[in-house]
Amino acid sequence: MTETKEIKFNEETLELVQRIIKRYPEGKQKSALLPLLHLAQAEFDGWLSAPTMDYVASLLNILPIEVYEVASFYSMYNLKPVGKCVIEVCRTSSCWLMGAEDIIKYLENKLSIKAGETTEDGMFSIKTVECLGSCGTAPMMMCGSQFHEKLSFEKVDNILDKLKSDDKRKTYFDAVVVEDY
């Protein structure tokens, strides 16, 4: 599941890193931590291992513990290996009113895993998340950066099939289709 690779950004990404750091006042390079962790997660198998976090710390010239503190605070950072497609299902208020629980159970049954787990083939993980600002088109889930809204079981089936046939790791940097509403 984890494709072993050297933990180092390529030249192009390193340039981007420098541009990101420049957005913040001089000497305040730590401010770039959140965007850099996103880059690192996308680059290094969808999660932040300790060596990955140490690498980010070295890029920003900060202490490793400063990175662990931050990475463990925010829910979008995965601190353990995840599948290629992390299905993030909203479980909060309006989605719950509109049947989020049924969607979660359906996903769990269909993929034979519980929320918080990854399928054996390393393809899917289910992660329950809080309101994603899509309450008017509830229930909803997100995979990569793509919002999937007004879910039905049928729609979920189609999405999973499509993801499976793509067979690509989804990241927050993927291009998305914006539904017209």
């Binding site: 006042p25 401010s31 996103h38 979008m76 950072y77 208020s93 918080g116 309101c131 309450c135 008017g136």
Partner: protein
Amino acid sequence: MGKKILLKHDHVSGIQGYEVYRKMGGYTSVERALKNMTPNEVTEEVKKSGLRGRGGAGFPTGLKWSFMAKPKGVKRYLVCNADESEPGTFKDRYLMSRIPHLLIEGMIASSYALGANTAYIYIRGEFFYIARILENAINEAYANGWLGKNILDSNYSLDLFVHTGAGAYICGEETALLESLEGKRGNPRIKPPFPAVKGAWDCPTVVNNVETIAAVVPIINDGGEAYSKVGIGKSTGTKLISASGHINKPGVYEIEMGITVEDFIYSDEYCGGILNGKKLKAVVAGGSSVPILPADLILKTANGKPRLMSYESLADGGFTTGTMLGSGGFIVMDETTSIVKNLWNFTRFYHHESCGQCSPCREGTAWMEKVLHKILDGQGSLTDIDLLWEIQRKIEGNTICPLGEAAAWPVASAIRHFKSEFEEYVKNPSSINDVKHYFEVNKLEMA
């Protein structure tokens, strides 16, 4: 048709792009401000407009701007709060993805008023694709001379950046947002000092909601006075309402403040009535944090007047019989909804999102969730209802930031207005079987 100010052009095809936006009159407020007005005059117009912060607290924007400290030689910042994480709220997402240039235009005019030469849009990480939309729009604005050095030869320069969060509701609280902007954990700061004195990187900073900043555009274009004539009383202008839950037409609606709640729920122009012809049971009118009201009290105030969509009318009756406009996240629940279970869902949310800095919120939110869980498990007793009341009372007012209250109010209001439902669950656990299964929380956590 209601009055539209912000979403006048939201359905014009191509409005996301610079060309169309400009053709529809975009960026004229920047021309006006930079060419014909001093920064103070812009602030004065905003004061005149009566605009109040759209992020939830409703604090007068012009007044907030005038608190900005202006020590010599110290940079100032404007930070746009695009964290939009209050359950039931999705208006900023709509505005940003639909008309990104409106926000950017507002950012330029507002930064000019505040004397900020660098500004940030802090957007929640889950809106990654919207961050891309905004970045595209920012690039277009740079290319057309609206951002960068010496804008319109006015000697005023501004750089604008997008900063993505990474999943934490608390980062919507303005000082937590600033910590997060600085690359730290989203722990709210202890105030004073306030951001207007010591904000981002210890410099004077103003934090405003997306909708607030967008509203600055029409205020400059048409004048503060014209804006103040829209709406009712101290609730001037229009408000974006995110309507969701058991209604026929969920979505984002721009309303003129002062229309009746009844009209908003039942008319075809807005929510279009309750889904499947069911009866209305309760409404959470301003995002999950505000007190829930039963049908009779949301439609009419305690003294029988029709309730209006405005700051004042929704708050009529205080917390005993009223609620708040909050962020405008309007969540409608039909007669089949279990209030206790809905409350558990909300409380679970606050427990999950507490930053954990201060003991009442860290421990209290977890405790309330456990008690609600116990009641829904059929193990509750009448004293548990009193205990819940007691816990929320001990949280409220005793925490570092208002998340404590945000967690306490839903509990207090649910018990206040729906106590019999709690009692029924406790006395007659079999009645809970009618309530859909609810998931076990802790197993779902993903480290």
